[in-house]
């Protein structure tokens, strides 16, 4: 029996007032799949990620995340969903007063109060080591470069080993070399079995990695290009 998709959108529409941010969207992401989400600004990429993380509800349709009905989830249960979704942002969103290790450990302990300080420290260091920052655990965010801060954010997102990682323009603030480093990391994470969805504008990364590409334009999924194919970035015409 095949695995159930980690992410499933069934006829999802999301409107902000009279404007449709997403229009009748259907898609499914399988476990361990690395998928790019591309499209011009305002195409609905961020809205799609917000629907996955239940920051917004769909106006119509169903959103299933790892078997959880995000579309009908009560506010009091949203935290349970978010513990299954690692999130990486363009601006890292690290707590400036906490060290890299503490930022990573925070995600462990707020999600599960039974995690002791010792265990949190060990697992946070493991995660930092996995992203190549094993020796920078005591550094504060402002003492790290942009790429290093993004690596800390990735470590924080995966430290609980969620089945899904979503990244909103994770390389947007990074130079090319650092961006490739982050993408290598995301590929490794997908290889580990975590479903990774990356919203990006970086055409070079999308074309070279030859992973599945979802193209959104005006809230509609206009192309679902399977992995291993190189398609035209038609959406560039609108950006």
């Amino acid at each position: 029996m095949p695995d159930r998709p980690i992410v499933e959108f069934n006829g999802v529409t999301r409107a902000y007032g009279s404007r449709l941010a997403l229009d009748d969207l259907n898609l499914a992401l399988e476990p361990g799949e690395l998928t790019f989400l591309v499209g011009p600004s305002g195409a609905g990429k961020t809205t799609l990620l917000k629907l996955i993380n239940r920051e917004v509800r769909p106006t119509k349709g169903e959103v299933w995340i790892d078997g959880i009905a995000a579309h009908s989830l009560k506010a009091s249960h949203v935290a349970e969903l978010r513990r299954r979704v690692g999130v990486v942002f363009q601006d890292y969103k690290l707590l400036p007063r906490l060290t890299a290790r503490e930022n990573v450990a925070l995600a462990l302990q707020v999600g599960d109060l039974r995690v002791s300080d010792h265990e949190a420290r060990e697992r946070a260091l493991d995660a930092l080591e996995a992203v190549g920052l094993g020796d920078r655990g005591d550094a504060l965010p402002h003492e790290l470069s942009g790429g290093q801060q993004q690596r800390v954010a990735v470590a924080r997102a995966v430290v609980r080993q969620p089945p899904l990682l979503i990244a909103d323009e994770p390389t947007g603030n990074l130079d090319v070399e650092t961006a490739w480093g982050i993408m290598d990391l995301l590929e490794d994470i997908a290889a580990f079995g975590i479903t990774v969805l990356v919203a990006t504008h970086n055409i070079e990364i999308v074309t070279r990695l030859q992973r599945r590409v979802l193209t959104l334009v005006d809230g509609r999924l206009v192309r679902d290009q399977p992995a291993g194919q190189t398609g035209r970035m038609a959406w560039l015409a609108w950006s």
Binding site: N53, A75, S76, V78, A79, E80, L81, R82, R83, V87, K93, L94, L95, L106, A107, Q109, V110, G111, L113, R114, V115, S116, D117, E119, E122, R123, D126, A127, E129, A130, G134, A155, R156, V158, V159, R160, Q161, L185, D188, I189, A191, F192
Partner: protein
Amino acid sequence: MAGVVVKGRFPRRHVMAAVAKNVFRYLFQGAARNWARNFSSTAPALSSMTLLLFLSGLIGLSGFALYNLEKIESGQASVLHVYLRDDADATDVFTLRNRLALDPRVASVNYTSKADALKHAQSMPGLPQLADSSESNPFPASLDVQVKSINDVAAIDAMVRTNAAVDPVYPTSYDRGAYQRIQAVLLGVAIGGLAFVALLGFVAVTVTINSIRAAIHSRRDEVTILQLVGAPRWMVRGPFIVEGAITGSLAGAAAGVVTFALALAGIAEGSASFSQFAPGVTITVAALAATIVFAAGLGLGSGSSLLSVRRHLES
């Protein structure tokens, strides 16, 4: 991926200790640290709440004293003092006393001699000097008539005031409408006090709500990150409510101590006069009032914060 993230062994020992430590850290320690850090924005809420609670404590104690006073007054209003002439004939006094005692509207009649009247006056605030300033005893003997219904006092007064044994200049203590006037004054004071407390309460709650809102906005990023990493709602909201509780309990403690100290000073300074002006206000009552003020502060602080969090912190 080198050194891949390995799901740690789930802790089987010391789980409760870890939970307690984490709850304390994220709920109380974090709240206390943020409270101290945001003291400048919390100070207006703290001071207005302290003022409110202090005034509420004073108004509460005054209200309690007025309630007791009203009870005393209502009891006294149905007592008619019939003042006797200094040269009244003993037979006339005896006849009048019997006549009153047999009246079905009268509950009891007691005789107070001039000496007893003087003794009583000397225990009243302000009267000892008056009593001592005169060489002779200026206080008349009286028949103290306990009337069953306050509505019959006027009729009893009319019946006795022309009696030969009664002082023609100042025959009785009857003052038409005095009790109603006292009641009206007390009612006015009570309404005014409650309105004042309600106004102060509104101000304190509004200021506290705004200070918590400011705290939420200043920590918007932190709140967002906590929400995104899957912190449960209570962990995101709890620290703000604890912050409000800290503000409220500190305000309550300060106001309670001042209320208690003032009441204690009043009791210690003039125990005789204090018990006349504020009947029923004892050390126990003052301590109880201080405790209520503290509890009210705690409730007000956490309640206002809860309102603010519900209104300004989305899930």
